[in-house]
Amino acid sequence: MSDQLLAVDMRNIRRQFPGVLANNDVVFSVRAGEIHALVGENGAGKSTLMNILYGLIHPDSGEILINGKQAHITGPRDAISLGIGMVHQHFMLIPVFSVGENIMLGREPVAGPDFYDRGRARKEINDLTKKYGLALDPDARMGDMPVGLQQRAEIVKVLYRGASILILDEPTGVLTPQETKELFVVLRDLVKSGKTIIFISHKLKEVLDISDRITVMRRGRVVGHLTTKETNEEAIATLMVGREVLLRVDKKPAKPGAVVMKVENVTANSDQGVPALKGVSFELRQGEILGIAGVEGNGQSELMEVLAGTRKTTGGHILLGERDITTYDARTERDAGVAFIPEDRRGTGLVLSFSIAENSILGRERSPKFSWRNVVLKLVAIRDWARRLVQEYDVRTPTIEVAARNLSGGNQQKVIVAREMASKPKVLLAAQPTRGVDIGAIEFIHRRIVAERDEGTAVLLVSAELDEVRSLSDRIAVMYEGRIVSIEDPDTPEERLGLLMTGGGTRREGAA
């Protein structure tokens, strides 16, 4: 590689965590001006490696060269001064601060004796956003921003610090397809303007689309350096997981049965109190997967919460079989046979400090199965149950007493999927079931969802991944601005779906 200047050259990086060798003599180099993808399963060591580069984690051994010069990075300050910027997997933004304050933080313009100069901050940001075509309102409250814009703010933050080497840790994990497209445009511009980019993602299509070269990690080791042009999804996946993986879901045609859930022009408000569902109607049949496609923020999340009973409706009806469950709360819904895989795994789906065993009965702690007359817990039953889930759903953990906090994202997700599916629900609500999870886990979760369907469960799937929706669903409902604008067949061309998702296209009311 010496033929070309290396922007980043990490040699024999080693970092031990309790029980895990997160980075094992990792050799990682990035050429100046390239987009370099770093891929690997959950827990492979990507974030760790990048955190080391950014000075957040100190390696036990190894050396780092930046632009050919030996670098001694003791903390983010050093990294920043070396022109390294990082957009973290879990955003580093302060919700109660304004966008401007978030971007300026650490390099604030001051007036007089240390007064924060809001005016100049605004100007600086506007300059930047113009230069890179990343529109942002500096005065908006960060907490009120959609993830896409938060992501954008993170990037502007990095650029504002004059970074020439950008690290993006799973930047697209939370983005919609169009947001991703926009992001890629930006990234390419940045490279043109001489920046170097390190790009971490679980989504191989994107990797192939955006990167010049690829480094693959597995279990803390680098298992391959690839040149994007000369490789393909299967090859990368195999390297990552260490075995063949099928990326396409193979499923028998659905045998839809009776209608189990009937939704009749349901309306509901978002957290901000504005209407998010403006009259949604559809039917869900036994043994089918109804996928909901749509740009995030068009009411999918609210719809799921309404159906799961964690959000109140403002109108309309929900029928489960004959029963009107419109007013049911989360508990009664669950008891009635509606299972829910929420999109926010860490915050909502799990109590991170609880053990796997405890998490395995979340929401069912009063059911006769796990408690005597819903007062006293049946500990033995709970343990057996948890053990069963762990081994049936292949949750990678030493014991069921491990706190969920210490599982990788993929395994955390498996715990939730297991809990919700194993209760043999009539209806399974799956929101972003594979977000941020590595392909190994994705493959597994997809197979389980199809299996559920084949056993007669009615599945409602919401995903920001159009591919996922198309490959899993038997019917696709497209949501736009709080309404279902059309119901399509899974083989509908991506272009048409994209058009519908953005409010265009000719509607075709489906069977509903």
Partner: protein
Amino acid sequence: MTALGDILHLLFTANLWQAALAAAVLLLLPALGGVISERSGVVNIAMEGMMLTGAFFAVVANLAWHNVWLATGVAMLSGALMASIHAIVSIRFRADQIVSGIAINIFAAGLTVFLVNRIYGVQDIGHVGQSELLPNINVPGLDQIPFFGKVLFQQNVIVYVALILLVLMHLLLFRTRLGLRIRSVGEHPQAADTAGINVYAIRYGAVITSGLLSGLAGAFLAIGVSNTFVPNMTDGRGYIALAAMIFGKWTPFGAFVACLIFGLGQAIYDNNSIIHVSPYLLSMLPYLLTLVVLAGLVGRSTPPAADGLPYVAGSE
């Protein structure tokens, strides 16, 4: 209901408000300390102890050197010393900040009396001369304004200092770069760290500042309001200040409002020689009032997001 009449009448006397303001300031200083500490993400319920320590050393120093300003400085330092214990234990050693705070309070209560015993023995700790107390200052001219002159401009020097600190604290937190950084550390230390801000330095600074302020309050109590040290003379003010801080939603002026309620309650109570109602029921007044206000007007108060959570940098 003559009692109510008496109280209403009092509310129109400058004396009452003068006393109320002075009493409020005794709470305001530690409350401000609490605000800055918790804004930086370090829960601080140790104001009681830091204030008591300040009171003790103010007297000791004043008796030793007969210089009130020196004594006040010593008091503030001793408060800061206590604070730095809290800081080291909860920032460096990542101890539970509530435990550490409680420990500081117990520690101060025990240590001060223990030292009085050891240092002064039978003859007991002495009194500070009238001339060596923190002076009351009448602002020339202004103090003649009817009503407000007495309330605002015939006060102890510390009252003026506290009111200035109140404004400064507000500006610091919400207008300056440092304030922005302090709040960022309290809301999301990781974010602050990745932005190149030294989380630990900010937190140490904030906690120690709370010690300086509480120590100052202690000095005011011992060698301003009184002229000697009496065991446990802070009498729970640190906890009231804590309540005031939360009541005020972790803002300086909000806390000040709460402090005024308590100060007013105290001042009204002080008139029990002319208000004809059980002094004990009268004493309940400010606390009941606070509950009512909380239930009615103030409602929810949500602390800084990272308040109370030790920060573990990505590294060790």
